[in-house]
Every structure is written in C-alpha cells, then in structure tokens.
C-alpha cells in the first residue's frame, strides 16, 4: 500500500519509503474536525475486453488520502496514472472496488445509486476540461440546471443563478448559447454551474487544458478566489505545472499510487517536497 506522511512531517524528513498506513494529510493534523475527505485503501479495478481478451486494469491501488476542508489540491501525473479515476471517486461518480471514500462524514460507497446522485447534486460541483455545457441551453439555463433538482422558488433560483454568474464573471453573457461563447467564457459558465448549488467540494478535470494562456490564468484566478474567499474545497487534475502552482498542494500519481506531494503554501511560494514511492 502506498502511503504518504503529513506534509509537515514529510517536509522535514525528506523522501520516505514504505511508510505504511500513514495517509496523505497535509493539514489533517491541524484540522480539529478531522479530514473533510478521507480515503482509505482505495482501489479501483476495471475489467476490459471479454473472453480470452479479458484483462483487468487497476488505475488506483490501495490509496490513502486525507484532505482538510478548504484545501485546494492539484493532482498531477502521467496519462493513466489514475488522476481522473480518483477525481471521479471523490465526486461520487464512480465507486471504489475496495476501500472507502468518506466525504464530509458520508461513506460514498455505502450510498445506493439514487442517493448517490442526490448526494452529488448537493455536495459536488464538477468542472470538465471541455466544459460540457448543454448546447441548446443559454449560459443562464446551463447554470440553472443543478438547481432544478431542488425545491426552490423561481425567484430564489434566479437569485442564485445570477449570483453564480457574477462570481464567475460571466453575467453579461447570460443569454448566450455555448456556441456564441469563447472557450474561456464557456469554462466560466461551467464554473458558475459548478458553484451555483454551493457544493462543499469542487472537482475540476483539467479545467484549463483547452484554454489559451490568458484564459487559463483567469480561470485559475477564479478557482483560487473561490478557495480563498469562499473556502471551497477544490480538487483539480492538471498536466500543467503552472496550473498546479495555483493549488495549495500538488499530489503526484503514478500507476495508481501517490508518489509525491508538494505543498506550495500560499499558492506556489515554496516547494516543500515530500516524495514517497511505493
């Protein structure tokens, strides 16, 4: 099992090998309420193919991770390292084959399908690389989508949508269809959609991967602001080190295991590395 000691410990001790059962928890020791996200022994295995061509793939293996509330984590690693798989598990989109994922006190693996969807609606905001806005809906209507699941009055729904669009800096384009928006603007709408339900966790899968530099920086600034000012817990997958520098911590995955953590403190001020290998 791959385990990583707390950032504080790791920073002082340097690389640690084989430190079993000590989960990654940069701030967990400082968090009196316990970790907001708690992964224990998380393994995800997929079966590919059928018959003689049948094989299993394990993108995540025995992963332990603690994330305190209000953290901003960047997940990095080569393709196939398990970043998106981990993201999907944290977002209750997928279930672990083994182990447990507990978010805000709820063991996601124990929730049946419909309740998992309901939990997702209340607690998760998802930002995709390719925005994934519904093409026939305007920016406003896309942002409104998560709120349609809740029993809110039209007025309250409207107020929340307008607020989310303003926070994302895209209120002036509220009546535009996705095809009438630039990539950066689409991603702002996607972020507004992710935050409109006031979720406790925002997961972002390469949110700047399809954007030019200026747009990417604007989106990262928005995510930082959401984390700093609104205390949103954010987990972001990225291949871009400069994007990762926006996060408070960077976790590196390789072959389904956490191999390295860099705590940047106040967004990239320092590189206090704690490298762990399996």
């Amino acid at each position: 099992m791959t385990t990583i000691p707390t950032t504080t410990d790791a920073a002082s001790e340097g690389p640690v090998r084989g430190a079993a059962h000590a989960p990654v928890a940069a701030a967990s020791s400082r968090d009196a309420e316990g970790p907001f996200i708690r992964c224990r022994g998380v393994t995800r295995t997929y079966v590919k193919g059928s018959g003689r061509a049948r094989s299993t793939v394990t993108p995540l293996e025995a992963l332990d991770l603690d994330v305190p509330r209000g953290d901003f984590i960047a997940l990095m690693g080569p393709s196939g390292s398990g970043k998106t798989t981990l993201l999907n598990l944290l977002a209750a989109i997928d279930r672990p084959t083994a182990g447990s994922v507990v978010v805000d006190g709820t063991d996601l693996a124990s929730l049946p399908g419909p309740r998992l969807a309901a939990w997702r609606a209340l607690h998760v905001g998802y930002v995709f690389q390719l925005y994934n806005l519904v093409p026939v809906l305007t920016a406003y209507e896309n942002v409104e989508l998560p709120l349609l699941l809740r029993r809110l009055s039209r007025r309250e729904r409207h107020a929340r949508v307008v607020h989310a669009l303003e926070v994302a800096g895209i209120a002036h384009r509220h009546d535009h269809l996705p095809r009438q928006l630039s990539g950066g603007q689409e991603q702002r709408v996607a972020i507004a959609r992710a935050i409109v339900g006031e979720p406790s966790i925002i997961v972002a899968d390469e949110p700047t991967g399809d954007l030019d530099r200026d747009s990417a920086e604007a989106i990262l600034a928005l995510l930082r602001r959401l984390n700093e000012e609104e205390r949103r817990t954010i987990v972001m997958v990225t291949h871009d080190p400069s994007a990762a520098a926006s996060a408070k911590r960077t976790l590196h995955l390789d072959k389904g295991r956490l191999v390295h953590e860099r705590a940047d403190g106040a967004f990239g001020d320092a590189d206090r590395a704690a490298e762990v290998t399996a």
């Binding site: 998106t84 798989t85 999907n88 977002a91 989109i93 997928d94 399908g113 419909p114 969807a117 309901a118 939990w119 997702r120 609606a121 209340l122 998760v124 998802y126 995709f128 390719l130 994934n132 519904v134 093409p135 026939v136 809906l137 209507e141 989508l145 998560p146 349609l148 699941l149 039209r154 959609r193 339900g197």
Partner: protein
Amino acid sequence: MIPLRMLPLALRQVIRRPARAVLTAGGTAAAMFLFAAVVALDAGVRESTRTAGADTELVVYRKDRFCPMTSRIPEWYERSIREVDGVVETLPLAVLVNNCRAGLDVVTYRGVPKERFLEERGDEITLAAGSFDDWLARTDAALVGESLAKRRSLVPGDRFEAAGLVVQVAGIVSGDAPEVRNSVWADLGFVQRSERDEVGLVTQFLVRVDDGTRLEEIAAAIDDRFEAEAEPTTTFTRQAFLGRVAGDLLELVSFARWLGAAALLGVLGLVGNAIALSVRERTAEQAVLQTLGYAPGLVARLLVVEGGILAGVGALAGLGAAVLVGTFGHLALSAEGATIPIRLGPVEAAIGFAGALACGTLAGVVPAVRASRGSLAARLRTA
C-alpha cells in the same frame, strides 16, 4: 413523471433542435392524418350501418341490380306495396347519380313526389336557407343538402348542373341522415323525364312499417308479390341496404384499419428513431446531467417526455388538419347512391391523440432507459 419545473427543460430540448422537431412532428402529423382519415371512414361506415332502435324502414330495390343506374321498378308497384299488411307509408324515389362508382364528390339526385315528401318526411329535414314554397313552385327546383352545397359553394338562386340535369337551387337542407345532407332533392317526374325519359319507372321505394320487429316478415311479403313479375324486387331493411352498399367499403375499411395501426406504428418508429438518434448524439450531455446529480431514472424520464412532446405536437397538427379538412371539406363517400359521411368527431380525435401520445412516449422509453444505464465514469470518458 418529471417535476413541473423541469418541463421547460424538455421543451427547450425539443424547440431548440428545430430540424429534429419539425421532421419528427411532421412525420407524426402525416401518420396521424392518415390515422384520422381511417378512423373517420370507419366511423362513417359504422354510423351509416348502425341499426337504430326505432328502425321501421324498408328499401325496395330491383332484384339483382346493385346500382341506381340499373334498378328500374314500375311506379305502379307502390299501390301493391301499400296493400301489404303492416305497411304504413311508401315513397317512390328516382335516383340519378353522376358517378355510380365510389367517390368523394358524387352528386346524387333523389326525385320524389314533393308534396308527399314534405308531408311524410318533413320531420327528417331542416331548411337551412331558401324556401320550400319555391321548391314546390318550380318543376326544376331542387333542395340541396348542406354538405353538398358547401362542397360546391351553392346558395339558393344558383343554377346547378350535374349528370346532365340542370336545376335551380330553391333551398339548402340539413338533417341527421347523411343522404339528406349530401343529395339534391328534386321533383320525381323531372328526374324521371330529364335524362332517360323513364316516366313510370322508379329506382326504389322507401317503405315505412308499423312494427320494427316485423321488418323481415314484411320485406318477404313485398318480394313475394313481385316474384313473378318482369321486374322482381329485393327488399332490405334500411340498414341492410346500406350495409350491402357499404359491403365493398367495409372491406376497404377493414384494410384501412391496418393502415391506421400502421400509422400508429409509424409514430412509434419515428419518435423512437428520433429519440434514439438524439440519445446517441447526446451521450455526453446525459452523462453530464447525471454528474450534476440527475438520477438515471430522471434523465430517462426527461427523454421520454421529449418523445411525448414530439408525438403530441405532431398528433395535434395531424388531427387538427384532419378535423379542418373534415369540417370544411364536407367530404362524403358515395357509392351506388348511398352516402357515407367522413367526419372526425371529438371522440375519434381524442382517441387518436391519446394513441399517438402513448406511442410517442412508449417509443422513447427503450432508448431513454438505455441512455441512462451503464457506468457514468465510462460515459464521461467519451464526453
């Protein structure tokens, strides 16, 4: 099925994909128009051949003749028929049609002794325009059934020609019986003389009897009287007469019922195909909705509602067009001088709408359920 607040979402999915919406709803409308035509024809035949509780009427026709053009009975038979026990009234009719085959715009002249007709059958007709006095005053005057009048844009005072006969429109009449609304009622002698110079010959007799339970018995007695004559007769109950005339049409209607079922199947296929294509096109979108917290069942129901909307709009358009054509077209199918109205009533329209809605909704179920199944993570990978 879905919360009311989500209905606009399903509507936007339909409206903002105009090509899909127009093609699917248009196809559904065409199928439902066909369905409506079949239902209207079916209803018309059923109405025409329905046996009324107080049915006391017989039709005396020339034996082995099945068209007004060939049925010739001496007018003097009337005296003999009146002598049959149970007969209350007789009315000779000379029927002349401009087309003996089945058609949608057949003009049927019914030559009757005018005064007797008004006296004995006046309760079956209502004067909508014009005057009975004008009709009685002129030999070439005619009362035109209102459906035919609307079809041909006729008003009192017009001159009207069909089947080589020119008449002056004296009045427009309506009534419950389809033949009242679709015939030209003229003077018996005028019709007899006009084309074939067949004074003394009529096409048929309408006979009223005193007891509806003795119809068969009285019909047999009438036919027995003329069995040995040069022009033997066959006497039918009114419904049997219409049923015989409509016999060929019934076969057509039986086949048409299959067409109606095929039309509904067409709706099923059209909407099913539209939803299936839409689902395939929108795999990512459905996965994203689930990521936002929409349960798989809700995503499926949204798609099903889309299918229902498409089918409902198409059905409304198709049935609406059928009702308009039926109402303003005043169509009637005539054969051998008998008339079968083609009208789509509210009940038939409601049945058609419900059928289309059910088919459209049902058609969406399978692709919708398939769309919401499977691993969300796997579908997001393709998003």
